[in-house]
C-alpha cells in the first residue's frame, strides 16, 4: 500500500462519453507539495481538475486523498463532501455578492475548526485585494476576479487545492509578484495544490513536479529541471519549444557528429549504439557565441528578450538553430552577418531520440 498523500491511478478523464486524457497515473508524495500540469489549451487539463473536485465521474481507476478513495468505478464522493477546493479559470464569484462576502462564504466551510481557519486580513493583503472588497464581481477586472476567487478557495484551507490557470488574467507586471506570494502562502500553510497552466515558466517556478499532457496522455511527470533538460519525448520537446532537434550520428559513448555543428561531446541521458543516427536536442543555452571560432553560421533573426538576445542561425543544411547571447554582450550581430559558435561543443546532458 502506497503512502502517497494524493494518488491518481489508471484513470481515464472524460467529459460525458468523450475521453479527454487516458490512463493517467501520478501521485503527490507529501502533504503541502505543489505540482503543476502543463499542456496546450483544450487538452483536458481542466477536466482532470474537475474530476478530482468531484464535478465529473470516472469509470476506471481511482483517485485517493490522504488514504481515502474520492473517486473510483464504484465510489463517488459528492464535491461538497470532499474538502477539495477548485478555483476556476473564468470568473466564478457569486455575482450578487461583494468580493468580501464571496470570500467570507468560503470561510464558512470550515467554521468551528480553528486549526483550519486562515487569517483573512493576511490573505487580502497578500493577494492585494483590499481595494475591491466592497465591489461586486462585475465591477472588477478579470485579474482581480481571479485573485478574489483564489482568496475564496484559500480561505477554506482545503485538503487539496486545485487552481485552473490561476494567473492567466493577471497583468504580466504583477504576475511574478503574485507567483511569489502564492508559493509562499501555499508553502507556509502546507496546502497541497495542483495547478493547471499553459505557462511553462509558471509551472517550473511553482511546481515541485510538473506533468506534461499531450495527445490525450500524461507524457512526462517529473521535476521541472528534468522536464526542461531531459524531456522524454519529441512531443515534449516540441511542446516546450525551447530547442530544436538536429540530425547527428553517435560516434562514441560520449560524442556525436553533426553535419552542421561538427563534434559534440557530453553525457548521454539514454545510451545509443555507436553508429546510430539520432535526433539531437539543441537548446539555446547549449551553444556559446565566439567571434574567433571557425564554425560560422548565418544570422536570420534576432529577438531581444531583455536579459538576452535569442539569435536564430541558419546552418549549412538550412536547419535553424537558436542561441542565447547575454544582452550586455559587447556587440550585436545584424541579420545576414556571420555568427561564430565556440568549439568544441560540450553539452552536459545529451538528449537524443
Amino acid at each position: 500500500m502506497s503512502n502517497n498523500f494524493f494518488e491518481i491511478k489508471n484513470v481515464d478523464f472524460k467529459v460525458g462519453n468523450k475521453v479527454k486524457v487516458k490512463n493517467v497515473s501520478f501521485s503527490i508524495e507529501k502533504e503541502g507539495d505543489i505540482i503543476c500540469l502543463l499542456g496546450p489549451s483544450g487538452i483536458g487539463k481542466t477536466t482532470i481538475l474537475r474530476t478530482i473536485a468531484g464535478l465529473e465521474k470516472i469509470d476506471k481507476g481511482s483517485i485517493k486523498l490522504d488514504g481515502k478513495t474520492l473517486s473510483s468505478e464504484k465510489i463517488n464522493i459528492e464535491p461538497e463532501n470532499r474538502n477539495v477546493s477548485l478555483a476556476f479559470q473564468e470568473n466564478s464569484l457569486f455575482p450578487h455578492y461583494t468580493v468580501k462576502k464571496n470570500i467570507l462564504l468560503g470561510s464558512e466551510r470550515n467554521k468551528g475548526n480553528k486549526k483550519k481557519q486562515l487569517n483573512i486580513e493576511e490573505l487580502i493583503d497578500l493577494l492585494d485585494i483590499s481595494q475591491i472588497l466592497n465591489k461586486y464581481p462585475h465591477e472588477i477586472s478579470a485579474g482581480e476576479a481571479q485573485r478574489a476567487s483564489l482568496a475564496r478557495s484559500l480561505i477554506t484551507k482545503p485538503d487539496l487545492l486545485l487552481l485552473d490557470e490561476p494567473l492567466s488574467n493577471v497583468d504580466q507586471s504583477f504576475k511574478e509578484e503574485i507567483q511569489e506570494k502564492l508559493k509562499k502562502i501555499l508553502t507556509n500553510l502546507k496546502i497541497t495544490t495542483i495547478i493547471v497552466t499553459h505557462d511553462s515558466y509558471e509551472a517550473f517556478y511553482l511546481g515541485s513536479k510538473c506533468g506534461i499532457i499531450l495527445n490525450q496522455e500524461l507524457k512526462q511527470f517529473d521535476d521541472p529541471y528534468n522536464v526542461y533538460h531531459l524531456p522524454n519525448s519529441v512531443e515534449v520537446v516540441n511542446f516546450l519549444n525551447r530547442g530544436i532537434l538536429i540530425p547527428a550520428e553517435v560516434t562514441s559513448p560520449k560524442s556525436l557528429e553533426s553535419k552542421d555543428l561538427g563534434t559534440i561531446t557530453g553525457n548521454f541521458v539514454k545510451p545509443f549504439p555507436i553508429g546510430s543516427n539520432v535526433k539531437l536536442l539543441i537548446q539555446p543555452e547549449d551553444l556559446q557565441h565566439d567571434d574567433k571560432s571557425n564554425l560560422k553560421l548565418h544570422v536570420v533573426d534576432r529577438k531581444f528578450r531583455g536579459t538576452n538576445f535569442i539569435y536564430t542561425l541558419r546552418a549549412s543544411s538550412n536547419t535553424l538553430i537558436p542561441v542565447f547571447v547575454h544582452s550586455h554582450h559587447i556587440h550585436q550581430h545584424e541579420i545576414d552577418e556571420k555568427f561564430g559558435i565556440k568549439r568544441p561543443i560540450h553539452i552536459d546532458h545529451i538528449v537524443c531520440f
Binding site: A53, G54, E80, R82, S92, F94, R109, R152
Partner: protein, 539 residues
C-alpha cells in the same frame, strides 16, 4: 444524466403543463364522427379566412408602428424622445377588448366624437360624417394599437446593440439615412422583429374579447361559441386542433428567430453605443408627431374615453363593487404568482442540475402553453377533467372531482399556471442564463448541498428577476379574459369580466369604469417595470 428528486419534480411540472395540449390532440384522434363534413359545410372557411385577414393586417400594422417608433427613439434625439422611449409601452395596459370598446364608444352614432363636434360646431347630424371603426377594421385597429409594443420592445433592443456601428458602416459605404435603414439596420434587426411579430401573431390568433365584441368569427370565437352555444366540446376541440397546429408553426418560427437574436446579443461587446443623432426643424417635428400619434392613439385615447364616460355616468362608479373587484384581483394575482414562481423555480433548477435532454425537450414543449389561446386552454382543461372524472375517479369509486376544478379558484389558478407558465419559466431561465454553471460548482466546492445552493445562492441572485416576473404575471392576469370568464366561480368577477359582461350587454358606459380601473392598475405595473424592461434589454 442525473436522476434525483429535482429531476422528477421538473418532469412532473412540465408534464402537468402539457396536459391541455395532449388533451386537444387526443380528442382529435379519438373521434370517429364525420367532422370534416361538418367543418366544411359550416363555418370553417369563414373562421380560417377571418383569422388570416386579421392576422396579416395586424402583423403589417404592428410592424410599421413598432419598428418605426423603435427606430426613431433608438437612433434620434428629438423633443419628447426620452418620454416616448418608455411611454410607448404603456399600450400594454389597454387590452384589445377595451380598445375595441373605446373605438366604438368614440365613433358610434351619437358617440363621443359626435358630442365633441356638437359642442364645437353646433347642433346638427354629424353621424354620417363620422367614420365607423367596427367589424374587421375595428378589430384590426384594436389589436394593432394594443399589441405593437411587442415589436417595439424587441426591435428597439436590437437597434440599440447591433446597429450603432452599422450606421457608421452605412455612412462609410455612402448610403443615405433611408438606405442605411432598409439595407443595413433593418436586416440586422430582422430576428428581433420576427420574434416580436410572432408574439403579435400568437396573441392575435388567441384574441377573444375584441373579435367577439366586433362579431368577427375567427377560429377562437368559433371554439368558444361551439362550446357555449352548441355545448359541443368535441367540436370545440377539433377547431382547437387546427388553431394549435397553426400556432405551433408560429411558435417554432419564433423560437428559431430567437436563437438568432441571441447570437446577435452575444456580439454586443464589440459594439459601442454612441450619441444619438439630434434632429432639428421639420425632421424633429415629424419624429415627434409620429411618436405622439402612436402614444395618443394607443394609450391616451382609450384612457380618456373611459375617463370621460366614468365622469359622464358617475352612477356606474357607485354601482360597481370596486373593493370586491380589487380584492378578487389581488387574490388571484397573489395566489397565481406564488404558484407560478415556486413551480417555475423548481422546474428551472431541476433542469439546471439534471442537464437531461428529455427533460429539456419536455420543458421546451411545456412552455408552449403561452401560445395556446386561453379559450382552448380552458376548454381543454374542462375536457380533461371531465374525462378524468368519468373514467378514472368514478372507476376507483371516489366522488366526483369536477367541482374542485371547474368553477373554482383552484381550477382557475391551475389554468393560469398552465397559460403563464412559460412567462415565469422563461423569465427565471433568462435569469439563470446570466449565472455561469461554475457558480453552482463553486458553491458545491464550498460545501453547499444542492438545496443550500438553491436557497442561499440562486434565490438571492434571482430576486430582481422574480420581482419582475411577478409584476408581469400580475399584469397578464389583470387583463386576462377568456379563462377567467369560463372557469371563474359563480359571482366571482374581475375588472376584465365585469367590463366584458357590461359590453356584451351593450352597456358600454358601464364597461368604462372597470376598464378605466384596469388600465390604471396595469399602467402602474408597467411604469414600475418599464425601466426594468428597458434595462433587461441591456440599455
Amino acid at each position: 444524466m442525473k436522476f434525483n428528486s429535482w429531476f422528477f419534480s421538473s418532469f412532473l411540472i412540465s408534464f402537468i403543463v402539457l396536459i391541455p395540449v395532449i388533451t386537444v390532440f387526443a380528442s382529435f384522434f379519438e373521434s370517429t364522427s364525420n367532422y370534416y363534413e361538418i367543418l366544411k359545410n359550416t363555418f370553417l372557411f369563414e373562421y380560417i379566412s377571418n383569422s388570416l385577414i386579421l392576422l396579416l393586417s395586424v402583423l403589417l400594422l404592428t410592424f410599421v408602428i413598432g419598428t418605426g417608433a423603435a427606430y426613431l427613439v433608438s437612433f434620434y434625439k428629438f423633443p419628447g424622445s426620452e418620454f416616448f422611449k418608455w411611454s410607448l409601452i404603456l399600450s400594454f395596459a389597454v387590452p384589445p377588448y377595451i380598445y375595441a370598446y373605446s373605438l366604438t364608444a368614440f365613433f358610434e352614432n351619437y358617440g363621443t366624437a359626435f358630442t365633441i363636434l356638437k359642442s364645437l360646431l353646433g347642433d346638427t347630424n354629424y353621424n354620417k360624417n363620422i367614420p365607423k371603426f367596427d367589424g374587421m377594421f375595428g378589430a384590426i385597429l384594436s389589436l394593432s394599437f394594443s399589441l405593437y409594443a411587442y415589436v417595439y420592445i424587441l426591435a428597439r433592443a436590437s437597434f440599440l446593440y447591433q446597429s450603432q456601428n452599422l450606421i457608421d458602416l452605412g455612412k462609410n459605404l455612402g448610403f443615405s439615412r433611408f438606405k442605411s435603414f432598409y439595407k443595413v439596420i433593418l436586416p440586422a434587426a430582422r430576428p428581433a422583429i420576427v420574434a416580436g411579430l410572432s408574439l403579435v401573431a400568437m396573441e392575435t390568433l388567441a384574441e377573444f374579447g375584441a373579435v367577439d365584441f366586433f362579431s368577427i368569427n375567427t377560429l377562437t370565437t368559433g371554439i368558444y361559441n361551439s362550446w357555449i352555444y352548441f355545448d359541443d366540446l368535441a367540436f370545440a376541440n377539433r377547431i382547437s386542433f387546427f388553431l394549435l397546429l397553426f400556432i405551433f408553426s408560429l411558435f417554432i418560427l419564433e423560437n428559431l428567430s430567437r436563437k438568432k437574436a441571441k447570437y446577435h446579443l452575444n456580439s454586443k461587446g464589440g459594439f459601442k453605443q454612441k450619441e444619438k443623432i439630434k434632429l432639428f426643424g421639420f425632421d424633429a417635428y415629424l419624429a415627434f408627431v409620429f411618436c405622439f400619434f402612436i402614444f395618443f392613439v394607443s394609450f391616451l385615447f382609450p384612457l380618456c374615453q373611459m375617463l370621460y364616460w366614468t365622469v359622464k355616468f358617475p352612477e356606474n362608479l357607485f354601482d360597481l363593487q370596486i373593493t370586491n373587484l380589487v380584492l378578487n384581483t389581488l387574490y388571484l394575482v397573489t395566489l397565481s404568482s406564488l404558484v407560478l414562481i415556486i413551480f417555475s423555480l423548481i422546474s428551472n433548477y431541476g433542469n439546471r442540475v439534471s442537464n437531461n435532454k428529455t427533460l429539456n425537450l419536455l420543458s421546451t414543449l411545456s412552455i408552449s402553453g403561452y401560445a395556446i389561446p386561453g379559450v382552448i386552454l380552458a376548454i381543454a382543461f374542462i375536457t380533461f377533467i371531465a374525462w378524468f372524472d368519468d373514467s378514472i375517479v368514478k372507476l376507483l369509486g371516489f366522488s366526483s372531482i369536477k367541482k374542485l376544478f371547474i368553477g373554482s379558484i383552484f381550477g382557475l389558478v391551475l389554468v393560469y399556471f398552465i397559460r403563464f407558465y412559460s412567462l415565469a419559466f422563461n423569465g427565471i431561465k433568462s435569469g439563470y442564463e446570466k449565472m455561469n454553471i461554475s457558480v453552482d460548482e463553486s458553491a458545491y466546492l464550498l460545501g453547499y448541498s444542492k438545496r443550500k445552493t438553491f436557497t442561499n445562492i440562486h434565490i438571492p441572485f434571482l430576486r430582481n428577476s422574480l420581482l419582475f416576473i411577478i409584476i408581469l404575471i400580475s399584469l397578464e392576469i389583470i387583463r386576462e379574459l377568456p379563462i377567467t370568464l369560463i372557469l371563474r366561480p359563480f359571482n366571482f368577477e374581475t375588472f376584465a369580466t365585469t367590463a366584458y359582461i357590461s359590453a356584451s350587454e351593450d352597456l358600454l358606459e358601464a364597461a368604462a369604469v372597470p376598464s378605466l380601473f384596469l388600465i390604471l392598475i396595469a399602467s402602474l405595473f408597467i411604469i414600475v417595470t418599464s425601466k426594468y424592461i428597458l434595462r433587461e434589454n441591456n440599455e
